[in-house]
């Protein structure tokens, strides 16, 4: 019942916050969000799962709970939730990041607070749902429901082009979800199952494969077509070049806390789903047929995204495009299909969530003070706001993959896993190309730092730029502490991740 409690608290909290007066909404939401955060940390310590939740191979799904919900003809849809080593770190990431995002909203959000914080808690409930649901329909409900609060968060509290950005984000990702949904349902109907429970589907898929022919496709060809369609669907969400254009708009226009969540958790939904669906359910034979193209796209995403970031003059846009780049690493790790590759990709999901969250928070604090995000307008901020700038620098280096910070661990695992992959042809070459991203990322971040925070102080404002209040800074230090902790001791979560990743790699899926 732990997961129900988590989601329930967040949902109930959202409702309470919605009707609370604006004045106390921020503090109230913070207090409420501590409950899921504490719960999830408790679950982290009490985690007793093993193996992969989708692969019934003697593993244990932690905090499992399941009830039949709807019968659609012969098919059953159930409330089915549980955690394994892949999802638990992401749940903790979500709850922690939400709490911090709430605190970091206290300064910038000064309008319709109760609605704002209510939506944040609502999004939390759905994100937890996405990472815990083990029934396809249930998962999809949470997956789609995330769109609503994010649409409103961007639309109401966003920047000047918020309406365009919000609707683009909304429609684009929704279309992708529909494609993915259609593809997956097609697959389910071709299988020997009468349930939408993901473990059962996975078992059926790996053991027998599609039994029916659809559109003249059957067996491997059907599985391949579905794999491709689902990949395209998730590619938008991740996003992978060339489906990424909604992201910079959404990131840039979103208010800081929404950007934090968008980059921190929402992007991980895409990669999480890729891992859960494409790379778990399909037999190696199917995946390997797409491995090289996907890896190539991943490498292109890394380099292209980094180049785009290099060309930006808006600090937030820089960070936004760099997410495209970072997500490319995740894809590379997944498609390498080795323990370090897939495990590293999962680690990178968590790590990038923390690091990009930190970056957006830092940019937000600077924006709060300067009311500009243009690199060309800023200079020498280090003088005025040393703590915020210090965190920004730390975050930048974390982003560049500085050792002893989580980003390095993640990237190193991915590189190591993909370089030696036998699964992926041309693995060393593709990996080496993708790795060049670490140079470009250093380029644009250092360039941005040089412009924005160093040099003589030049910004002209009609008010005094003061130091940021403690509640702006504190969340960033919490994140920084976690980033360093994970960088120094990646095994904090890497063990449980690999425990859940191993069964994926072992399933041969011979039909």
């Amino acid at each position: 019942m732990m997961i129900e409690l988590l989601i329930g608290v967040a949902l109930l909290g959202a409702l309470v916050t919605f009707v609370a007066p604006n004045r106390i909404a921020g503090k109230l939401a913070f207090a409420i969000s501590l409950v899921p955060a504490a719960l999830s940390v408790y679950m982290f310590t009490a985690f007793d799962g093993s193996g992969n939740a989708l692969l019934a191979d003697g593993g244990v799904i932690a905090f499992e709970s399941s009830t039949e919900w709807i019968r659609l003809g012969e098919y059953t849809i159930s409330w089915f939730v549980g955690l394994d080593g892949i999802s638990l770190p992401l749940v903790v990431l979500t709850t922690v990041l939400i709490t911090l995002a709430i605190v970091s909203s206290w300064t910038p959000i000064d309008d319709r607070e109760s609605q704002f914080y209510g939506l944040l808690l609502f999004i939390e409930a759905n994100l937890i749902g996405v990472f815990t649901a083990l029934d396809f329909f249930l998962w999809f409900i949470f997956w789609e429901a995330v769109l609503i609060p994010m649409y409103l968060l961007i639309g109401i509290w966003g920047g000047p082009r918020r309406k365009y950005a919000a609707i683009k984000f909304f429609v684009y990702t929704n279309v992708a979800s529909l494609v993915m949904f259609g593809a997956f349902v097609t697959l389910v109907f071709s299988l020997d199952v009468t349930t939408f429970a993901l473990p059962a589907i996975t078992t059926a898929m790996l053991e027998t494969g599609p039994q029916a022919e659809i559109f003249g496709l059957g067996g491997t060809s059907l599985a391949s077509a579905v794999f491709l369609a689902m990949f395209l669907g998730f590619a938008v969400k991740v996003p992978i070049v060339p489906f990424h254009t909604w992201l910079p708009d959404a990131h840039v226009e979103a208010p800081t806390p929404a950007s934090v969540l968008l980059a921190g958790v929402l992007l991980k939904m895409g990669t999480y789903a890729l891992l859960r669906f494409n790379f778990t359910m399909f037999p190696e034979e199917v995946i390997s047929a797409f491995a090289v193209p996907i890896a190539a796209i991943a490498a292109i995403s890394v380099i292209y995204g980094a180049l785009l970031a290099l060309a930006q003059t808006d600090l937030k846009r820089v960070v936004a495009y760099s997410s495209v780049s970072s997500m490319g690493y995740v894809i590379l790790g997944l498609v390498a299909f080795t323990q370090f590759g897939v495990g590293g990709a999962t680690f990178q999901m968590v790590s990038h969530g923390l690091v990009s969250g930190l970056m957006f928070m830092a940019v937000g604090v600077i924006y709060n003070a300067t009311h500009t995000r243009m690199l060309t307008d800023m200079s020498g901020l280090a003088d005025k706001m040393p703590l915020a700038v210090g965190v920004l620098i730390a975050g930048s280096f974390a982003y560049m993959g500085l050792p002893l910070m989580s980003g390095f661990a993640a990237e190193y695992f991915i590189f190591f896993g993909s370089f030696g992959s036998e699964f992926l042809e041309y693995a060393p070459l593709i990996t080496a190309v993708a790795m060049f991203g670490i140079v470009i990322v250093a380029g644009y971040l250092l360039f941005a730092l040089q412009r924005a925070v160093f040099g003589p102080y030049l910004l002209e404002t009609d008010y005094e730029i003061g130091r940021a209040p403690l509640h702006d800074i504190a969340p960033m230090f919490v994140l920084l502490a976690i980033i360093i902790a994970l960088g120094v001791a990646p095994e904090l979560i890497f063990d449980m991740i690999t425990d859940a990743v191993d069964p994926i790699l072992e399933n041969g899926g011979e039909w």
């Binding site: 323990q339 280090a382 730092l449 690999t498």
Partner: protein, 679 residues
């Protein structure tokens, strides 16, 4: 003595503690955190000396302390699993380097009291914190027992240099230089990281030492004639070795990635001393020495190292000749000197390379701190043409600086002579057998002349003649904290050569080549990490002039000493006197070329701003117009379609009736045709 190794981690952790203390409480502390740093580095030095003693007593420390991550290797590796760990390896090489690093760090800390505190700088807690972190990173790098740990601290060293070079962030130039330093070295580190990943993926281990080291695995692969990643083993070892070398070239400022180093002078001079002598730049060469066993397996890689080193030595020395800024001259000399080390290592002169690394650490630290003292004296003026005549006004500075200069120029009996000579000797004997290496030797040899020239040009312009500015006439005072480190280092520059008087030893047939014996494990060490083991692996054929080792030795020494002296002499004749002329006009077009550093900066700036940035902007435009255009286009087309479709609804009911009827007739026709109703 064995118990002492229990404290090994403290060597690095003490400065880390200093970092935390200075960062958090620096403002509240006397001297703004300097005290913490001094105590920490002094502690490190003490422990390092104990380690040295322990190693000298025949003990070696190799222990894994912490498992960072572990997992399965995939595919190509023979090993099933791989563990990424943090461990400490204290053998003769690392023990020696620990002492050097902690000593220099301590002296720099002390010097900073005079250079930074006394000058009323702001942000000192930040400064000392960063120094502490810098020392921590370098010490941890030095005794890292595996390649990944080395890489991690190698990167942290880069971070600290970035922070320290950019210490005066309110200027335009310092942040820019810091950025350049980090970026250029990062470019090198990219190759390094690929190399680390490749070696790990190939051999399933990254350990430097032990039966299971990657070197041992590589040897086994060679012996077994295995195919690695589609290449035969030696080619693959060469490739991976060269990849790692990328990081070395970046950090040790070798051609073509040396451009960041002169710019790095934007940092405080103390930082320059630390970077040039013992930390950042030394890290690269140290890494080659650390994994020399691996390079020994690949003659090609070693050859490339030698040539890069030889060329860099000459190349950088030629640029130092025309510089006016005292720190610039020193910067180019650093590049050049590290070129010698690379040359030495490249020709198999493991001892020579390490020897020069050690000596250079002392005399370069000395020169930089001396330059720092000069800068204090000169009220922060760095142009040598504004100086002059400081000899009488600051004798301590002068004589210590002179000691460093003599060592740098390679004048007997100062330390630099011994090590440089040994490097050149190793190159020569190899070159005699293998003509190709002769070219590398020649470059190194010619550089000696330039070295002598620019060194003495610097000394003469700075200290001799008449004061050429008000500042030079009325120098600022300097305190004990400045003088003490200078004296210590001056003595070391003079005497450090004793460690390995190879020519003397060989000529007199005496066992006074302590360093060689030290590195060869005579006093203690790991067998596979000894000079002897490396030489066995290398099995270089060497030659000798007239078939005699002694003759070769003497000819080589005479050549290099002669060139150094003639360079120094030329500088003396050109620049001594009360009002020296620039003389650079005589160089004609070459002068501009040299002053502009062969336009390498321009080239790299072009690479960044003329090539990468336009490509990025083009990509951005492409992204905005084409990719995003398609997305927006789909929506525009849909909405346009919407506007068109809704026009069907004309508002006139008769039209609706017609459309309904038309619709039914259409359906009727279609269904009728398909259903065969009209037949």
């Amino acid at each position: 003595m064995e118990g002492i190794f229990t404290y090994a981690p403290a060597i690095a952790l003490l400065p880390l503690a200093a970092f935390v203390v200075a960062l958090c409480f620096g403002n509240a502390m006397p001297k703004k955190g300097a005290i913490a740093g001094i105590f920490a580095t002094a502690g490190s030095l003490g422990l390092s000396l104990l380690m040295l003693a322990a190693v000298a007593s025949g003990e070696v420390h190799h222990e894994t302390y912490y498992q960072w991550a572990a997992g399965e290797t995939a595919g190509h590796s023979a090993a099933q699993g791989i563990e990424f760990t943090f461990g400490i390896l204290i053998d003769p090489l690392s023990a020696l380097m620990l002492v050097i690093v902690s000593l220099i760090a301590l002296l720099v800390h002390v010097f900073s009291l005079g250079y930074m505190n006394a000058e009323g700088e702001t942000g000192l807690p930040r400064y000392y914190a960063e120094l502490g972190l810098f020392t921590f990173s370098m010490l941890a790098f030095v005794y890292a027992d595996n390649l990944l740990m080395a890489f991690m601290f190698f990167e942290l060293v880069g971070l600290c240099s970035y922070l320290l070079i950019g210490f005066w962030f309110r200027t335009e130039s310092a942040p820019s230089a810091a950025k350049k330093a980090f970026l250029v070295t990062r470019f090198g580190d990219y190759f390094f990281l690929v190399g680390v990943v490749a070696i790990g993926a190939t051999f399933g281990t990254l350990a430097f030492a032990g039966d299971n080291s990657f070197v041992a695995q590589a040897e086994a692969a060679l012996d077994g004639g295995e195919t690695l990643f589609g290449f035969d083993a030696r080619t693959w070892i060469t490739i991976t070795g060269l990849l790692v070398l990328g990081g070395v070239i970046g950090k040790s400022a070798q051609f073509p990635l040396q451009t960041w180093l002169p710019d790095a002078m934007e940092g405080p001079t103390t930082v320059s001393a630390l970077i040039h002598a013992a930390t950042m730049v030394a890290a690269g060469v140290y890494l080659v020495a650390r994994m020399f066993g691996y390079y020994a397996l690949s003659p090609t890689a070693l050859g490339i190292i030698a040539f890069v080193g030889g060329f860099t030595a000459l190349f950088a020395a030629s640029m130092a000749v025309v510089k006016d800024d005292i720190k610039q001259v020193l910067a180019y000399s650093t590049i050049s000197q590290y070129g010698y080390m690379m040359l030495g290592l490249g020709v198999g002169g493991y001892v020579a390379g390490v020897f020069h690394l050690m000596n250079h650490a002392f005399f370069k630290a000395l020169l930089f701190l001396g330059a720092g003292a000069v800068i204090i004296l000169m009220h922060h003026e760095q142009n040598m043409w504004k100086m002059g005549g400081l000899k009488e006004k600051a004798p301590v500075t002068y004589y210590t600086f002179l000691a460093g200069a003599l060592a740098l120029a390679g004048i007997i009996p100062f330390s630099g002579f011994w090590s440089k000579d040994e490097v050149l000797y190793d190159a020569l004997i190899l070159g005699l057998e293998n003509q190709l290496y002769l070219a590398a030797y020649a470059m190194g040899l010619i550089a000696v002349f330039f070295t002598g020239f620019y060194t003495f040009r610097m000394v003469v312009l700075t200290f001799h003649g008449e004061p050429r500015s008000e500042a030079a006439e009325d120098p600022h005072d300097i305190g004990w904290s400045v003088k003490a480190p200078l004296i210590v280092l001056g003595l070391l520059s003079l005497t450090a050569g004793i460690a390995n008087l190879a020519p003397v030893g060989k000529l007199l047939d005496m066992d006074i080549m302590f360093l060689e014996m030290w590195l060869d494990g005579h006093y203690g060490g790991l067998e596979e990490l000894t000079y002897g083991a490396y030489s066995d692996t290398l099995a270089h054929e060497t030659g000798a002039i007239a078939g005699s080792e002694q003759t070769t030795l003497l000819v080589g020494a005479a050549l290099s000493l002669g060139l150094a002296l003639s360079g120094a002499g030329l500088a003396w004749t050109l620049y001594s006197g009360s009002d020296p002329a620039q003389h650079t006009q005589r160089l004609g077009s070459v002068r501009e070329l040299l002053r502009s550093n062969y336009y390498q900066d321009e080239f790299q700036v072009w690479l960044a701003e003329g090539l990468t940035l336009p490509v990025a902007r083009t990509a951005d435009r492409f992204d905005q117009s084409v990719i995003d255009g398609v997305v927006d286009g789909v929506s525009s087309v849909s909405l346009f379609g919407s506007g068109w479709i809704k026009r069907i609804q004309t508002g006139i009911v008769t039209n609706y009736a017609a459309l309904i009827v038309g619709g039914f007739v259409g359906l009727l026709v279609v269904l009728g045709v398909y259903g065969g109703w009209f037949v």
